[in-house]
Amino acid sequence: MKELLIIVPAFNEEGAVGGVVRGIHEAMPGTPVLVIDDCSLDGTIPVARDAGARVLPLPHHLGLGGCVQAGYKLAFELGYQYVIRVDGDGQHDPRDIPRIFEALRASGCQMVIGSRFYDGDANHTSLMRSLGIRFFRLVLRPILGRDVRDPTSGFVGVNRAALEVFSRSFPLEYPEIEALVVLQRKAFRFAEVPCRMRARTTGRSSITPLKSIYYIVHVLLGVFANILRLRPRR
């Protein structure tokens, strides 16, 4: 059985993805890195390959959830025990990967989240995002039965049990919060470890006020749908 695969979803990240891949190789020498290219229009694929990553190019743009799930599916089929997702925009610090990996192995949890709020307020987090995170923490607390400090973090590691679940079912848009509810419905456990978030070095965030409202409505409905799905908890 292969042990760990690092997946990097990327869309038009030619400016950042090379540094991300090199940072991962420095932090986790010998660990394979798979960049899932969501049909970028720029040079993301050659830049990622030049940096030493394997690349899974998608035939058309699927969005973040579909892109991440493609990586989960491939990792599951290839027999990996653990997968850690690092975003291709450079906001996640690869030096935190060993901490997430260690927590995954030691805790027995199905998912480990790299949390920017574990040790207090995070830098490089906009006011809008902070408010959104606080709102969803309140929403999720009674659902999950515990507090989750950073429910929107994409810096996550999963073990093979969660990999199997996500290979079959994974939210296609805005996956982070819904994924927590999916795991809760399976009676899976998650842990959080402190992580640093860095400022985006290239490109810019696509978040607008209108998209924020859509995001909130979409995620709330997704959570509602997951809670009320007729399938029994396992």
């Binding site: 799930q69 491939l74 848009e173 859509y214 979409h218 749908a225």
Partner: protein, 117 residues
């Protein structure tokens, strides 16, 4: 007028319940339920708030408010149908599962070729 507003409110509520039940049974994906829910909530609000309806009628320069409700109802559903036409057209191209499977198979074929070379 009151009866028309009552019927509209009842139909709006029925639509909300139907859509939520469909979302719950995963017959409608969440993202495709938003238009229906937004339209139904808008009609419910108009039918239950006479001042809002009168304001809408004034804004549309219609002297008889129920006519404004009929017009707004028609527009809401036309917009919903339009949106779904766009979504269906996009879905035709963006078949997520097929795209993932294709990408994975291509990746595995290429990996096998590299190993056999």
């Amino acid at each position: 007028m009151d009866r028309l507003l009552d019927y509209t409110a009842a139909l709006s509520l029925l639509l909300i319940l139907l859509v939520l039940a469909s979302v719950r049974r995963a017959h409608i994906r969440v993202e495709y339920s938003v238009s229906w829910l937004a339209g139904a909530v808008a009609l419910l609000a108009l039918s239950r708030a006479p001042r809002l309806l009168e304001a809408a009628a004034r804004a549309l320069n219609i002297t008889y408010p129920p006519l404004a409700l009929v017009l707004v109802t028609g527009c809401v559903f036309l917009l919903i149908f339009y949106r779904f036409s766009v979504i269906i057209s996009r879905l035709k191209d963006d078949n997520v599962a097929l795209a993932q499977r294709l990408a994975i198979l291509e990746y595995r074929l290429e990996s096998r070729d590299h190993h056999s070379e």
